[in-house]
Amino acid sequence: MGNRGNSGGTAVTTGYFSSVDDVASRLAGTGYLASPAVATTVFLADRLGKPLLVEGPAGVGKTELAKAVAEVAGARLVRLQCYEGVDEARALYEWNHAKQLLRITAGRDESWDETRTDIFGEEFLLSRPLLTAIRSEEPTVLLVDETDKADVEVEGLLLEVLSDFQVTVPELGTITATRRPFVVLTSNASRELSEALRRRCLFLHIGFPEEDLERRIVRSKVPGIDEALAASVVRVVGALRAMDLRKAPSVAETVDWARTLLALGADTLSEAVVRDSLGVILKHREDILTAAAELGLEAV
């Protein structure tokens, strides 16, 4: 079967967007300026109903993308933050043992059979993000953040959930999504995700934006900034990214830098200003030294 994820009774598309342009303009409305590739891929994830795996360096707006989609779709954002050691009980569901015990003590004169059927009911089920997203009746965006931080077992769990959009709780039976969530997985590629998971997803790499796009992002996030200064900031950041640094500055850092410059009251980029504020965009001492040397700054 080629189109495994597409079978089943639920509607395949999430149906939030009508066209690529629609994606771009509505995301822009929330302040998320999407590159054409981002807009196209989001549209496809919506249309084909497939999870979207977003990779790229930190600070380019992977998580923001999920939030922006949720905002324009008027959907609820359910977030699963992955970390080392996140498990089924944290990702999917667990039983509320304390409440179950209370229930058992409360109903002393019941037979065991009655109690048993009772304490494994909906009331005692604690829904974690994955189950919450699947059971949700309203439009939902499921964000699985930093998937690469989770252990391999969780990936297996995700595979099952994302291919069929259903979850089996042994005591309750299978719960199938009535309304398919829009799923975004993010990864920093600190661990290689499995081929199987990648195959289930649409792949999107968000890199550093084109100069023009980044300029617009800066102008929209830092409203007070002068156009020429924004352009200079973006140019310097572009030059820094072309250097061989331990950590290239991300978009978030570009915006931070622009804000800092504005706060410092700098209306043009001078050598002194750059030298004094390089620490805002570069996070390693050696990077600062490399950059200062290549930009021809006096010793920092």
Binding site: M1, R199, F203, A239
Partner: protein, 470 residues
């Protein structure tokens, strides 16, 4: 299969279906694992975004067919062949024959300088097409035999336009006498390189039209960097490979750490569990887990840095260096026919990876009376001088093709090294079919230590991840 493929075929133009399958075939030939399901998705995706905008089609196919950013370059090149951006363009600017090609080149250079100054994408694409059409043809009449980007670029010489582009930009009213201006030259250089790439793309496309896409897509498109053969990699490819060192090291480090963590969970130590159970009347209440010795492996790299093997050795040195906190200790030795320790040079090599090889050759004593590699002498010298580097916790990686230039391979020295170290692995960048042909002593060494072929970065990463002791 379900009805989906037929649906795609029915709604998308047949031509597109054929191209899509051709594209997938070419990508598979380059080692991208693409299943039928993904091909079907790609068809559906194309249908969803429409066929008007090539960049959307590119994004749609990339989203459905790719699994990682490393595959992107191969994909882009193959895509340009199967879905050329010129499609739907009214007419092809044909080669202007009969005129003076030098004058043609001069005119093109003028327009190119203007387009570079303005950063005008559409104009640059058009110029790339015209340049290949006008200057890149070869054969009896221009273009009769083929198109060459090399020929185009050597006539057009875009890299010499730097000063003119700078003058145009400064004259064009964009007067900003400030800090960012000192970046101008670098930006122009990047744009020029970008234009050169456009020319290459265009030349490939024209060749593909003549010779058939499938053939060109399989042969003329470079492999993903991690699959480039160490021994065949050119300078540019090695540079690109070096840029992958850090991300690769990070991935390897998490993999090694995960393995270590799993291993540290340990097994039940039955003897100590039972002994502790004495206090609870023989009931083993608390199991005792076998304790793991902490201690990370010590690593010794012994690298042939001569000639063609040097690229492989350098890449590996940098990778190991980037992984240094995974090991108790890393020592790196380089040799051609004499051995010298280069640990310090490699440690500093992170700042200037490209110059590492030259610095090793310049600053370390790796050659004696001649410049040819001599494994026998080098191994012997290592076993003698640096025996202290080896111990029961040391894992040795020997990197080299085991080509001795017809001198004595001296397997006894390798045997001595193997006896002192915990494990010795020999990574050979040649394919096994070539081992022991000519002056290669590969099999003589392979009898003593574990020799494995390691031809590209992907294999290297896999080997390091697997071979290192926990």
């Amino acid at each position: 299969m379900t009805a989906a493929p037929q649906e795609v075929a029915a709604t998308a133009p047949r031509e597109v279906t054929a191209r899509l399958t051709g594209l997938v075939g070419a990508l598979r030939a380059h080692g991208l694992g693409i299943g039928t399901g993904e091909t079907v998705d790609a068809g559906l995706a194309l249908e969803a975004v429409g066929f008007d905008d090539p960049e959307r089609m590119r994004a749609a196919l990339a989203a459905t067919l790719l699994h990682g950013e490393a595959q992107r370059r191969v994909f882009d090149r193959v895509f340009d062949l199967y879905f050329p951006p010129s499609e739907g363009r009214p007419q092809e600017p044909g080669p202007r024959t009969g005129e003076d090609p030098a004058a043609d080149a001069a005119r093109l250079r003028d327009r190119l300088a203007a387009a570079l100054a303005g950063g005008d994408d559409a104009a640059l694409n058009l110029l790339a097409r015209e340049a290949v059409g006008g200057l890149g043809g070869y054969g009896a009449s221009p273009g009769s035999d083929g198109w060459s980007s090399h020929r185009t670029l050597s006539r057009l010489r875009p890299e010499t336009l730097l000063a003119r582009v700078r003058a145009l930009r400064e004259g064009g009213g964009a007067a900003e006498p400030e800090f960012a201006d000192r970046l101008t030259d670098d930006e122009i250089r990047r744009r020029i390189e970008d234009f050169r790439e456009r020319v290459r793309t265009e030349a490939r496309r024209r060749v593909a039209e003549r010779q058939g896409r499938d053939r060109v897509a399989r042969r003329a498109v470079a492999a993903t960097p991690d699959r480039v053969d160490f021994l065949l990699a050119g300078r540019a490819q090695l540079d690109e490979l070096r840029r992958t060192v850090r991300p690769l090291a990070r991935r390897l480090a998490t993999r090694l750490a995960a393995r270590r963590r799993r291993a540290a969970r340990g097994e039940i130590d039955l003897r100590r569990t039972l002994r502790r159970s004495l206090s609870t009347g023989g009931v083993p209440v608390r199991p005792v887990l076998r304790r793991r010795r902490p201690g990370r492996p010590e690593l010794v790299l012994l690298c042939d840095v001569s000639g063609s093997v040097a690229g492989f050795a350098q890449f590996t040195m940098l990778l190991v260096r980037a992984l240094h906190d995974q090991f108790g200790r890393v020592r790196v030795f380089a040799f051609v026919n004499r051995v010298d320790e280069v640990t310090g040079l490699v440690a500093r090599g992170g700042a200037d990876p490209a110059g590492l090889g030259e610095r090793i050759l310049a600053e370390a004593t790796v050659t004696g009376w001649h410049g040819q590699s001599d494994y026998g002498t080098a191994l012997g010298e290592f076993a003698e001088r640096y025996a202290d580097a080896l111990g029961p916790r040391t894992v040795v990686f020997v990197l080299g093709d085991a080509r001795t230039n017809h001198s004595d391979p001296n397997p006894a020295a390798l045997k001595r090294i193997a006896d002192r170290a915990r494990r010795v692995y020999w990574l050979n960048p040649e394919q096994p079919a070539l081992w022991s042909t000519g002056d290669s002593a590969a099999h003589a060494y392979a009898e003593l230590v574990d020799m494995r072929p390691c031809r590209n970065a992907r294999q290297l990463a896999e080997l390091i991840g697997r071979l290192l002791p926990v």
